[in-house]
Amino acid sequence: MLEQIESHKYSELEVNKSLSDEDKIEFLRQMVRIRRFEEASLKYYNLGKMGGFLHLYIGQESIAVGTASLCGDNDHMITAYRDHGHALAVGMSMNECMAELYGKKTGCSKGKGGSMHFFAPDKNFWGGHGIVAGQTPLGLGLAYGLKYNGEKGAALCFLGDGAVNQGSFHESLNLAQLWELPVIYIIENNGYSMGTSQQRSSAFNNCLAGRGDAYGIEWDVGKGNDIYEVRAKTKEAMDRAHNDSQPTILEFDTCRYQGHSVADANAKKYRSPEDIDYYKENYDPISVWKKRLFKESVIDENGYKELDDAAKSEAKESATFAEESDFPDLSEITDDVYYEVDNQTESGKQGKYFFHD
């Protein structure tokens, strides 16, 4: 478990000192929105409204919110299947996200992606990827695209502590440093890949990010539950990407409160509920931030309650929206497969594309 938060030095850094009260309240609002959205999604999942998996981000909200808060027009984000937090943090609406979970045509992917596959290219959010570490070469490619076109930006590519053992990630690290691409790999280390602890899955020297040494990549580790620290370390990495076109690996400690997915039958077996309760009581990112804002007199109990109530009703309304939306038509199954077909270009009109009866 992490040491007690000691955030002084991070709050003193320019990246955080420059924050207005509104900014700080906004971070709180975003974290609370993510949590309330996911609590609602869990509720409706259990009522049988959704299919498949539901990987909840609850407990990790400060990482998505802290990092997204630094992103400008040329900065991009891409993550794995635990993607609801990142999606909301980049500005996707609860409605489109909840409707996607319900498999409705009003969903962000028209009901074609599901929980693990949220996308919003207009918000520089490139998914939502179901294959562990499959997004890591894609994140590299976003960085390649930025550099190719001479844009000053960064690609923030998130992955779990289990994903670091995939070959594609290591291939990506090699290419990232070899070609000096502005990618930032952000390991959200919640200590477990499904039911396997980090100790049982990874050979490591103190930390996972340290594997960057093998490639000469700059790396850093930090406490993921502290927005100031997340922002401070991410800012440094983003400066490195923007100014020197260099990659970074960041590793943030964090904790997922729920099982791996809602379908995790062993959720209470491979780690003790007491440890999680202890973390929640002492390190919960929302509580920690809230208390800090109380102390800084940025917001009070009432203000918080207002914002929390708003998030709850927004989440509830998103479920109503999803419920009332239509499922896609059967005829839409073969839409969005090929650009050329959807757009009925010359190429899209040539030959047979679909072979079902």
Binding site: F119, G128, K352
Partner: protein, 327 residues
């Protein structure tokens, strides 16, 4: 008349598309300073420099995935696989990512990438280097697969592939790169061959030989022999594109000849020819005077032994024999 070789035709297509669109970038192992393992990219690095023609480490999953990611931002990478057999270490990227991202994003993202390289046996390099995965990729909605048999089509299809906004996998053939039988008289004018259009390479009346890639060259040779020695006038249909598929040209030919022999270097189980056979029986059943027969690779991993491998993949005598079995 100076004929252009298949490899030269590809080279010209790549060169012209590098000139036509600044977003086109050639990426792969040994494509730049070495001029390509098969010299398809010969001279391009010297002409276009480090930015446009990029040598990679041996990391197919890494660099193909990277190309897919870059394509989401509008770059148009043309990635070379030294052999299409090596796609197997990058399958996650080529199938889960390239083919599915458009769909899973509800059509909001597209991946205009080309992956190209040789997909063939017959060169005595053993099973690991002799796979022909056009059937495997054509099985995946979201992907396009083309397999040119001639220099003309290699040039025209490569240009179409690069301009296409969906992922296109171009299956070439090391035996065709320098084969005079696949060489073409290319016009100096730029042109494209549309993806999804088959072509009747030789008109005939008695049987349709339907093939793609180098099997087209085999079929043409077999048709010649059948005509000269057996008095059988075979038509040769070159699929050129596997997915999308030009069913019309296939069916028209079978409706004319009433017989079909499919020549396919894939292994028989769910090979490209399986799909063609299903289409013919479903849509041209009444035209058929005989069962649809196939000449595929003999159903074992690619054998090394050179004389045996020549028998394992479709060859002229196997095609001639099979046509005679039609009765």
């Amino acid at each position: 008349m100076a004929l252009t070789l298949y490899r030269q035709a590809l080279n010209r297509a790549l060169d012209e598309e590098l000139a036509n669109d600044e977003q086109v970038v050639i990426i792969g192992e040994e494509v730049a300073e070495y001029n390509g393992a098969y010299k398809v990219t010969d001279g391009l690095w010297k002409k276009w420099g480090d930015k446009r023609v990029v040598d990679t480490p041996i990391s197919e999953a890494g660099f193909i995935g990277m190309g897919i990611g870059a394509s989401m931002l509008g770059v148009r990478p043309v990635m070379e696989l030294m052999f299409f057999s090596f796609a197997y270490v990058a399958l996650d990227q080529m199938i889960n990512n390239a083919a599915c991202i458009r769909y899973m994003s509800g059509g909001s993202i597209n991946c205009p990438i080309v992956v190209r390289g040789p997909s063939n046996g017959g060169t005595s390099v053993g099973a690991t280097h002799s796979h022909t995965p056009e059937n495997l990729f054509a099985n995946v909605p979201g992907l396009k697969v083309v397999a040119p048999a001639t220099a003309h089509d290699a040039y025209g299809l490569m240009k179409s592939a690069i301009r296409d906004n969906d992922p296109v996998y171009v299956m070439e053939n090391t035996l065709l790169y320098g084969d005079s039988a696949a060489a073409s008289d290319l016009s100096d004018e730029e042109f494209t061959v549309p993806i999804g259009s088959a072509e009747v390479k030789k008109e005939g009346t008695d049987v349709s030989l339907i093939a793609h890639g180098r099997s087209v060259i085999v079929a043409l040779e077999a048709a010649k022999q059948l005509g000269e020695e057996k008095g059988i006038n075979a038509e040769v249909v070159d699929l050129r594109s596997i997915r999308p598929l030009d069913e019309e040209t296939i069916l028209k030919s079978v409706e004319k000849t009433n017989r079909a022999v499919l020549i396919d270097e894939n292994k028989p189980f769910c090979g490209v020819s399986s799909q063609i056979a299903a289409t013919i029986q479903e849509k041209a059943f009444d035209s058929l005077d005989a069962p649809v027969l196939r000449v595929t690779s003999i159903d074992a991993p690619a054998i090394y032994s050179p004389p045996l491998e020549k028998e394992q993949i479709p060859n002229v005598s196997r095609v001639v024999d099979m046509v005679q079995k039609l009765g």
